[in-house]
Structures are given as C-alpha cells and as structure tokens.
Symmetry: D3
Subunit: 238 residues, 6 copies
C-alpha cells in the first residue's frame, strides 16, 4: 500500500451529523440497520464525553504517530480524527499537545484504537477522546502511513468523511451517503422508544408490548411453579 | 435442558438482604466463608452504584435477550435481575428501556455477564447496573432460555431467590438459606474490622495485631540491613 | 530465592520525588529516556488520584498477602508501597485496613499488580491506590516473600528507594540515583512542551514546528486529491 | 469453607464411563442436553490424547498444590483427577512425578485449570492430560483446600464420581446419576449422525435433510444473483 | 442489513488461486502489498494443513450456524468457506458433518472466526480447517444471516470470490481482481527470497545484503565493547 | 536510552550451558531457586523443539525488526538470539531467511516475544524457535534499538551471555555467573527426582514421601466419609 494523504475528501452533511450526535450511539447503530459499531473496546477518556463529527482517518504503523501529525493539517471545523494502526498498538499516540492542536482547528473529537496519555489534562480541557488504552509510552515518528484512506476498526470500515458518533456507549460510524436515511430512521426509532419507555415506566410488560408470548409457546418455554418438582436444575448429585 | 420459567421461587429474607447490602460486598464475601464472589469482571455502570436484592435469574443464548423480557414479569419489589448466557456474549442485552421497566417494578438492580448500553441514561436515572461489557450491539429475540433456574457466573452458582449484593468491589451471592448466618457473621466481622481500623489508624502494626512474627520466623524470613551485603538481588551480571 | 526483609534502604531525594510528582507520569517517562513505565494495566482506584513517593517493594506469593503486612512496618513518611507477586494474581491483596495503616504512617500511596477491595472506602478516604484488578477475593497469610528487594513490573525493575510517580496516565519508576537528572530533563521538557502547547493553541502545525515535511518526502508520502483517481482503497471488488 | 477430604464417594458406572469415552466429547455434550462442557480453554498436552474416568476433584489455593498430593491417595483405577483453584492460577501444578504416581494407581487421566510442566515426559509416557496453561513455574505446599467436593470449572459443576470425558475437543462432565441416560441418548445420536454423514458424503444438502428452507422463508432470507444490483454491501463510499 | 444469499458470484481465476497457494501465506501477504492477513488468531486444526480456494462467505449471528448450512449449497469445487459472526462467538459452528458435506462438494477448505469441534475426525479426514477456537459447544439454527456478502475478519474485508490462502502461518485473502498481479509479484518475491536464502545459508549478513549500515549510522546506533564502560544498562541501583 | 550494539560480551560456560540444556527447563527453573522463567506465553514453533545457548539479546521497536538484522552479526556458534520489543508487538519479526542465517552461524535457537512466520519451513528445517505469536505480518526496518543490552521478558532480566534453555515447557534464563551453581543444584535435583519417580511408579504416596500428613493436621484438613453428612457442599438450595 503506497502511503498517501487524501486532501479534502467530501464530508457528510453537517446538519445530519449534528442530529446523529443528538440521537446517540445506541440509537444510531439501530437506525443504521445494526451496522457501524466500532467494537466494545473504545472507551471515553472521561465519563460523559460525547461527540459527533466527520471522519478524518489515519493509518499508522505500530508505535509510530508520524501520520497523526500529518493528519492534523487535514482537520477542519467539525471533523473528528479517527486513528488506527496496521498492527495492534497500545502506545500513547495522542496527548495534550495533539488534542490542543485539534481543538484549535475546531475538531469535534478524537477516536483511536491505540493508547492516549495526559488524561488529566485532556479531561480538564473537556476535549472528547475515545481510546482502547491509556499509556504514557510515547511513539516515534519514523514510518509512513496514510491519511483519509478507508480504515477498518473492529471489522467496520470507516471512510474519510463518514459521520462518527461517540458517547458513553462507544463509537459508531455512518457512511457519508447514508446519513440522511439514518437520521430519518433514527428519529422514528427515537419516537417509538420514547413511547415504549413511557409504557414500561407505567408498568406495561415488554412481552406484551412486543407480543412475545406466542413465540414462547412455539419455542416450548413452559411456566412451572417452584414447588412443582418440574423446576429441574441439572447441577448433579441431588 | 428444557426451557422453563419458574414462577414465584422463595426469596431470601428481606431484612437479611438489606443488612447484607449495608455490610457490602467485601465483608459479605468474608462472612460467607470466602464464597459467592461473581468474579472480578463485573463492573458498575457508574461509580458508587450499590445494590442488594433477591435474585431473579436468567439464562439466555448468546446474542439473544428474549428471556430477559420474559424475566421482567417475574421481578417483584426488591428483586435483582441476574443474567448470564450459555456461551460468552459481549452484546448489549440491556439498555434504558429494560432498566426503566425494572425500576417501575421496584427492582433493586441488575447484574449481567453480557454488555449493556444507554450508559448515560442509566447513569442519569441512577439505576444500579453491573456488567462485564458496554456495547451498543443489540440482540435478537429468537431463541429460548430459562428464568429462575440456577445459573453459574464466574464458577459461583446463583439460585433464584439468593441474596445478591453489589457495589464498587463487584458482586457477591449468598445462598437463600444462609443469609441469617452470614448476616450474623458479617456483623461480627464488621465490629472486629472497626476495631482493627481504629488500631491501625493510631499506628498499631498488623504483624503485631495478627501476631505474625512467629510465623515469619518459622518461614525463615530474615531481616537484613541494606548495606550488609546480604541484600542479594539475583538480577544477574552484577 | 531466600525470603528477606531489607531494612532502611536508601531513598531517593525527597525534593526530587516531589518535583517528579509535579511533572507527572508522561513527562517523567520522557525525561527518563522513555524508560520506567510500569505498563498500561495499572489504573487508579479513583479518577484524579495522583501520588509520588519512594518505593518500598513487596514480593508476594499468589493469593497470599503476608508480606504486605510485613512491609507496612518498613514504610515511612513519603514512601509508596509497590506490590507484585511471583505469579500473576488478581486477588484483593489490599483493602481499607491496610490503606488506613499506610495513611497512618504517612505513606504517599500504593501500587499493586494484584487486585484491591473496599474501593468505596478507599475513594472516600482519598488514599491514592493503583491496581490491575478490583476484587473482593481475599488472600491467605501462609507463605514467605521478600520486602525491599528489586521487583519487576511490566518488565521494569523497581528497586527499593526508587522514585515512583503515579497519576491518571499510570505509574512510572525512576532509579534512585537518576532522580536529579530526570528532574532537570523533565523541567526542560515541560518548558518546551508549554511553548509547543501555546503554538498549537494558536494554530501552528506540528508538521511545521517539528519540520516533518522533508521526512514525508523521503518516505514517499504523496498528497492526492480525493477526486483524482489516485485515492486508491484496496478494499477489493470495486 | 472448611477444608475436607471426602473418602470413597460413589462413582459413576464404569461401563457407562467407558461408553461415554467411546462416544467422545462432542457427542456426549449433545447427548447430555448441551450441558457439562468445561469451557474451551482446556487443551490436551499432546495431540490425540483421549480419556474417560470418574472424577476425583481437587480445590487448591492459587500457587499451591498441596491438595493434589492429598488427592492422589484418593485416586483408584479408572479415576480421573480434576483440579481447579479458588482464584485463577497459571502455575505448573502437575509434572512428571505426579503423573507417574497417577499412572501407577491406574488413573485414567488428569484435567486441570492450572498449568502443567514436564510436557515432553508426559507426552513420551502417553499419560493423558488437559490443562489451560503450560508453565514450569512450580507451586508451594502451604495451604489447605479440599478433595472430592463439588468444584466449578467454566461455570459447570463437577461432582466427585461424575463421569469425565476428554479428547481433542476439550473436556465434558456428566453427572454420576445421569450416565445411563446420556449413554443411551448418545448412542441414538451417534447412529443418527452416522446416517447424516453418509448422506452428506453422497451429496445431500443439510438444508434439505434438516428441512431448513421453510424457516429461511419465514426469516425473510432472499436469494439474489450477484449481478442483480440487489447484492448490496454496506461498506460505504461505493 | 437484510439477509441475502448471493448466488454465483464471480470467482478469482483458478490457476492464480492455485499458484497463490503454492507461494504460501507469508509470500502472498508481502506480494499483496502487506495487506489481506486475517489476523493472528486463526490456527489450523492440524499442523501442516494448507489450502487455497475462492471464498464463499458466511455472516452468522453469534451462537447460530443456520447460514452455514445455507452456504454449503453455494459451495462449488475449489471454493473455501469463510465464516464470521456479527458478534464474537467461540461456539463450535462446524464439525465432522459439515466438513464431510464440504469435502463431498469439492471444497478446498474452511476458515472460521468461531470454534470448531470433532477435531480428531477432521484431522483424520485431512480436511483443512482454520479456526480461532476449539469448542464442543454447539449452536442453534434460529436466526438469519447472509451468504456471499463482503465480511470483515481482523479488519480485512473478504469478498465472495476472493482468493483465500491458508497454512501454518495463518490465513490471507487476495481481492479477486488482484490475483494476477499478486501472483506475478509473489513469483518475483519468491525468486528474490530464494537468492537471499542461499546467500544467508552461505554466511552473507543481511545488514550487508540490505545495505543497512548507513542507516544505522544515521540513526546513531553505536558499537561499543562490553568492557568499555559504555555498555550502560539503566536497570538502576548499580 | 541511546541505541548501542555491545560487541563480544562474555558468555556463560559452554559446558554448563549444554548440561543445563540436558536438565531441561523445569529442572533448571527449580535449581535456580525458582527464578528465570520467561513466563508461560512463549511456545515452540514445533512440538519437541529443545535448545540451550548463550543469549544474544535484541531490543526492537514495535513493528520494526531492524535490530534483529544487526544482531545476527553478533551471533556466534552456540549463541541463542533473544528478542523483545519496547512495546508489545505480535508481528512476524522472524521467518525462514533469518533462521537460515542464524543456522549458518551456528546459532542454538531463537526466542522472541513477538510473532514469527514461515512456520512450515522452520519446522522442516528443524531450527528451534519459541515465540508468543505466529503472524505473517511483516515489519519495517526504520528505527533504532539495541543489541546485547539487558532486556526483560515476563519480568525476568536476560543479560547478554546468560544461559538460556528452552523446550516444550517454555524458556528459562540463568545468569551467566550462576551457571555452575545451577548445574550442580540441578544434578542433585535430577537425582532426587529420579528416586521420587521410581518410588511413585512403585506406588509410594507423595504425602508420605514428603511427610505432609502432619501439616494437613495443623491446617485442619479433615477426612470425612461421603455418606457422613459432613461432606458439605455450599452450592446452595439443597
């Protein structure tokens, strides 16, 4: 793979991105047809962090953050830097200096499969960051990689310009050309979930609301009393 | 294993459960003879969460939360839902809708070996949840499982109706018929620990308080001065 | 290895230790020539914890904290207890009683590769603790180990008396005889980073500040427009 | 938990155990109603190892194999030693000496959640062993545990006297009082699988043999041609 | 994502696939520009297994192998079944019955991110299989998935019809339309490596053959004698 | 840490090294006072591999094997290359070319905490290699590291010139100046173990041979009959 920096890729619609951010990771994931989740290992640097932006992607060598510096120049207002490596790396690719630079450029946040450092300073600054590791181990700047090429995190492809939403539930990416559709679907889902929440809060049961009892019958689930002798346990030796 | 839902299993004594909750996970684990801990991977959704309740148990297939919906109907005031799967699953089995339903029924909390989602909403609502993962990845509702059968988490059997205590130290289960004994033992331990804490706060040494010096002698532990030449290090090449 | 307790090993200079603590883990790691980091698995018991002290080291058997009790007597004001085991152990070696004893002796904090328990009480007391696990599983007091011998954590040797600094970024150890040099180097680095931070905050790019463009040329990194047909993606099938 | 050694627990029927061994782990697991598997981390010390016996169970402290020595005396012809620990331990609990002693007593094999050592000698001797780890790290003999109490491995309870079957697929336990039933069910399954194998070998499709096509319809699975434009891919940016 | 089965996708050129198989995983990975490796967790069921084929891809729900049965019908001579799941699953998706069916259809092999079972039978039959787990835990057949859609394993996209090569080094996928190019590049690499091997076997040094000494100079690597006092060690306390 | 290559460090005595190799990893580990084991994650590339040599150590950056090429020149007859990285790396640092070069120089083997590739060729050549990973992912040659400095693997320091022994049980390092002592202790241990093995083979019990019964009494271990009602199980609900 030849190292390249793709300049000015098209971005997802800003209004869509903002609305996806309002809907949040769990709703967006559902609305996108249960796709786009970047796994379950990316955690916010500080509880309550939330962000939505358009992806500027970075592919680095393990232990080497040279291309992160290159990527900063490609970041504009509302972009969100998404970093991964050709082999797994837990090193601290990003700290206070890089998040300061990103904030100065109006970046919406940062997501990396590597480690980060300067967690206290990043928390104090309130810059939203998600990473798999926290590590003070710094990196070198010796080898080439690429910026704004499609990258893959947790088996999900992230293209430059895709919408990326992140909160306490993790990180989800929505393909650039699908954001309008996902916004629409997400709003419908939001409305429906609000109705369900109200119903459940007032005591309705989900097996009734979702009409699950016939399915339980088909699956052969039986209700038995605890003292009926049918409440068999299979733990042996009894 | 035939799928069953056991209705109205006997519950541990409410007053005992409340007292076990007051004693906390670490003391209860000790008082129960160092048994009942549900491993070290279950973490609270929000720092400071604490709960105690009687177990309503759920056994699901991986990636399928159908039986959680079935279990909600079996939950009464003071119950605590305990979920596990037949094979490991990191998916988000539970989110805001289900915790809302549980709260409406007076549930004491929720413990699951799977993932959860809607962490921000759950935190805001203050509903106490422990899980091994956070994941927006949702589940299907396609396959049968069981409710209120004995389940095993981290090699500890949890029976329906058992007392379950959870806090920042993790989760511990106490067999239903042993709660009175564990409460008594826990109170004794609590009193003794309070005395030890006061002693240690005022400078007493635990090797004296626990009379460990004779044991050190028996084990051949020697005290040497740093400059004595006996402080050998075994790191090689010196 | 014969079990020994080394009494009164020399400690790193107190003023240096304090200054290293002020500089923080990430800066100290860099200033020490990118050495001394105790891995990326040690996490603070409570967010925002920070500490610096001189190491009193403990080497225990797995599941056995006898030597922690022995070590407490060796702890003086400004010392920081550093615990590891001969084989990995996730058990709860330390809880409220031991941290109370350490606080009473003026200890600066505690670092352990094992688990801890009583997290709520430790958090409330504000005693700074780093561990790899949280676990209510307690230990026995049956087997010998050593105190104030060199121990190895995450492939870094920690000698008794070394400076140990810990914060939200993890834990770093500085050899006792190198603290003055690392303080000096750390201050220089701090000044330089402050300048960089100011520059980045006002919009300067790190690829310019660090003069990385010639290196990108040497490495063959090319800038291409998104619509140029050169923005090749290698995802197959297109 | 008080340390005890239970003497002469009843054993599963020898003929049943032998037949379960002939059927093999995968068939026995199915025949037992998809229960009893001791997880997926226990691997044979040498490829091709296979064994079936009646469990003599051992519960040890981490890093301490005292109770393994105690257990050997309780092992008779056809027994299979099953070892676990109160906390996870990867140490080498068992090596050539202990397997020699077991072989001399007519043991059928050994299963342990810990490590083993002397793999070359064990392989040469052909004694069947399953473990989670290989480690030369030896253990101490300092703390009490129990023999022939129920233990839990990978969330499955193993009672003394249970049938245990192990081969290249892992290890499965069958409750002592269920062996006849599982043998019968296993033979039926074996016959049925033999017919299926013959059918598949001659080209029959499992979707036909298991009549899965109607289910695919119900689930909405559609067949589309690759060149139809319906073979949508959701990888973004196309 | 709507569940679909894509019928008769175009396959990579058979002769290219065979040649890629001859070149082997490591050479193909390099020849493809260091892309296409399906991670480092897929291991052969038996040492020495090697295979090359065109991918028939399967995307299943966790714990559910329904779509594997559907996929078998889509497998032709020279195809290689590649299975993954929407969430991680270690269950035994494939055993002797399915591999028998695949062999009957002329399949080249099977790769799955899940578990497999019947390892002894598969080994005896010599059918080449790679998996991440071995587990007798079987699956249900309840939920829809897709066949011959692009899937992602270890962050590499595998398209139906891609060339897949597997041996003791793991598994690599080559996009269908790139096989000719990779074959050519692989043969050149093979020739070059054969020359290097001969050179190294006769004592030439790689730092000379690859002309690395000038780079070492640039990087500031210094050669020092062991007894020179410059062989500094940074282990502290010396 | 300045990158250096230490030339001609003193080596451990050749005859001692050979004898340590004959004794094997488990015996050497014990004879060295239960020290020196390089963890439990290093596995041989092929079953039955065994080697003993004097360490030539290599410290690389993650994803970069430049210094391995540098190290080859420092390898003489009977040396064993020991590679680790400043941050964890699972990449394939070593393949057929490097092992060919090492064999040509008379190297005794290779140990690396990284991945290896060309496993089939290495196996065929019979060159003994231990690694933590198998991966075709190759590395770059861009960044400096050091050769023949002390390195740390699994918390054990390996100095250049140390004796390193590896077999199916893993890898152990013996400090250069301790080899004679460890040989002597190892031979004594070997003789003693041979006597124990003979005793156990003829039916003697280890609790008698090691006189463990008094200790069991002291620890309060009680023998109870299975039908005595004292064989309490603590699994709840019975």
């Amino acid at each position: 793979m030849k190292p390249i920096v793709v300049v000015d890729p098209p971005r997802a619609d800003r209004a869509d991105v903002a609305e996806l951010g309002r809907l949040g990771v769990a709703t967006v994931f559902e609305a996108a047809g249960r796709t786009g989740l970047l796994g379950n290992l990316l955690r916010p640097a500080w509880a309550g962090a939330a962000a939505a932006g358009t992806a500027v992607t970075v592919l680095c060598q393990p232990g080497d953050n040279l291309m992160v510096h290159v990527a900063i120049e490609q970041v504009g207002v509302g972009d969100l830097l998404v970093i991964t490596t050709t082999s797994p790396s837990c090193d601290g690719y990003v700290g206070e200096l890089i998040t300061t630079a990103l904030a100065a450029r109006g970046a919406a946040g940062l997501v990396t499969t590597t480690g980060i450092r300067d967690v206290a300073a990043i928390t104090k600054a309130g810059f939203p960051v998600w990473s798999q590791w926290v590590s003070a181990q710094s990196t070198v700047r010796a080898t080439a990689g690429s910026v704004n090429v499609p990258i893959v995190i947790a088996n999900t492809v992230v293209w430059p310009g895709d919408a990326v939403v992140a909160d306490d539930d993790g990180v989800v990416a929505v393909p650039r050309l699908r954001t309008a559709e996902v916004v629409q679907s997400g709003r419908q889902r939001e409305a429906k979930e609000e109705q369900s929440r109200a119903a459940f809060a007032s005591g309705e049961l989900s097996i009734d609301r979702y009409d699950l009892r016939p399915q339980l019958d088909r699956l052969g689930v039986r209700y038995v009393r605890a003292d009926s002798g049918e409440a068999d346990t299979d733990l042996g030796e009894n």
